[in-house]
């Protein structure tokens, strides 16, 4: 019985911790991602491969760090975008690289929108709880 209670308490603590981190971290992650997406967009316009690679790598890093706080379709979309970015970064062919960048940019906009909605949902939930 004691073991079950301990597991239940740990489970609850972990969930509360996760919810807290989600609420505290996601807005700043969303802002950082927005910045890197803008940089990627500018790098594509300037056809600056070095800048594009840097922006892609940073976007991927934000997505990887945020996936743990996402659920369902949002998580899947974030993970798939991170994988797509990895493939683009490995691309040796120049045409493929730039086409991949455009696709990654479109997907990143989608992930960002998802994050934005989630952050709003969290804000409303907090307001309702208060």
């Amino acid at each position: 019985m004691g073991l079950i209670v301990t597991i239940w308490v740990l489970f609850r603590v972990r969930n509360i911790e996760k919810a807290f981190l989600k609420q505290a971290l996601l807005p700043s992650r969303m802002r950082v991602l927005r910045g890197h997406i803008t940089n990627l967009d500018k790098a594509i316009q300037a056809k600056n491969r070095q800048l594009a690679l840097q922006a892609l790598e940073r976007c991927r890093s934000v997505l990887t760090a945020s996936s743990g706080y996402l659920d369902g379709d949002r998580r899947k979309s974030s993970e798939q975008t991170a994988q797509a970015i990895e493939r683009v970064c490995r691309s040796a062919n120049e045409d493929e690289f730039w086409t991949g960048c455009e696709t990654a940019l479109a997907r990143l906009h989608g992930v960002h929108e998802g994050l934005k909605t989630l952050v709003k949902e969290l804000e409303w939930r907090t307001k309702d709880a208060n």
């Binding site: 700043s28 950082v32 910045g35 803008t38 940089n39 300037a46 056809k47 600056n48 491969r49 120049e94």
Partner: protein
Amino acid sequence: MPTESEWEQAAQRMIDLTESGNLTWQVNAEIKSQRENVEGDVYMALVQGRFIAVYEYKSQFYDEDIDGWNPRNEVAIEFIDLSGVLQYRWPAVPGRWRLLDAIRCVVSGARDFLKQFLTQPAGTG
């Protein structure tokens, strides 16, 4: 599609032609007025029947370290039509900054100044 290395070669060739005086660049205020955040002048030349514009511009880039925006200068090399409309943007090859510097050195008269100044006898100014 041409590779980035071919565009780099083309930029290098334009640097050589500019420095040897075989390529003439002109300042174009009209194109400058059509572009945003241009730093300095927009230079235009006719190369192999195509109008080419080269200029420096400022753009805001996100910096995660400060969680804010930082200005960053870039150089654009563009094929344009007679009225300055962009036709094709060259990839950002490493030689773009050297090309702009070579153009500025010639157009500003810095190269001629140095040549004359260093050949003058000491004590004259």
